[in-house]
Symmetry: C2
Amino acid sequence: MARDQLSRVFAALADPTRRDLVARLSLGDATVGELAAPYRLTPQAISKHLKVLEEAGLVTRRRDAQRRPVHLEAEVLDQMTAWIERYRAQAEERFRRLDALLDRMAAEEDGHRQEREDES
Amino acid sequence: MARDQLSRVFAALADPTRRDLVARLSLGDATVGELAAPYRLTPQAISKHLKVLEEAGLVTRRRDAQRRPVHLEAEVLDQMTAWIERYRAQAEERFRRLDALLDRMAAEEDGHRQEREDES
DNA sequence: TGGTTTCACAACCAATCGGTTGACAAGTGC
DNA sequence: GCACTTGTCAACCGATTGGTTGTGAAACCA
């Protein structure tokens, strides 16, 4: 996934209304009118939100007479998850190694204390 | 995760510079100066980016003399992944059922064609 | 103490964002 | 052909964003 493509996807999902639309579309395709109905926004506003989602590749639109059914593309969500997972995994691996190091240091400290106690 | 918290996290990661910072921090904690060095931006700009990451809960800052080491909090990335995964899974389950339906319809169609061929 | 390093805050600027209203294009159905 | 439905495009507005410069606080070091 290209760099600005990733930016577009994150930016698209940074808006609560657009996340709502994604949630709704995960249950099935819908027209702009159906998507707009639950909101107090104008259909134009919803249309703009859908355009943002479309440019991010999260959504595609068919042509069906004068209707424009909207369809969620789940693959892009996969690519996002992959990006996030990459850095989460790196950070957690780093903590794992740090924990191991601290354990070793604590064990050595115990060893030294044991030696000192043996001397006395 | 609260609604605007999620918005803040997505918005934070929508900027390529901030994603770079997250990538860098996944390898280990760093000071503002260290983080700013590779960029042609002023340290103030980096500091602002870090503030955005901090308000999103992605990052925390310690106090170490006059330095402010920055630390990546991996848990928030987990919560993000969970949100994404939820709707991706729903969408894919829906496709799975649609595929099954289409398979059944195709099978029935085959059955009918078979009947018609039997009649002739 | 005074100078240096590291960093944040405030004020400003151009660009982008989320919303509105108004006009209109594309299709359907009488 | 004409009215209606569905949806987009364009222009505008206030708020936010990503960057800058300037200033100054906090801790170290000589």
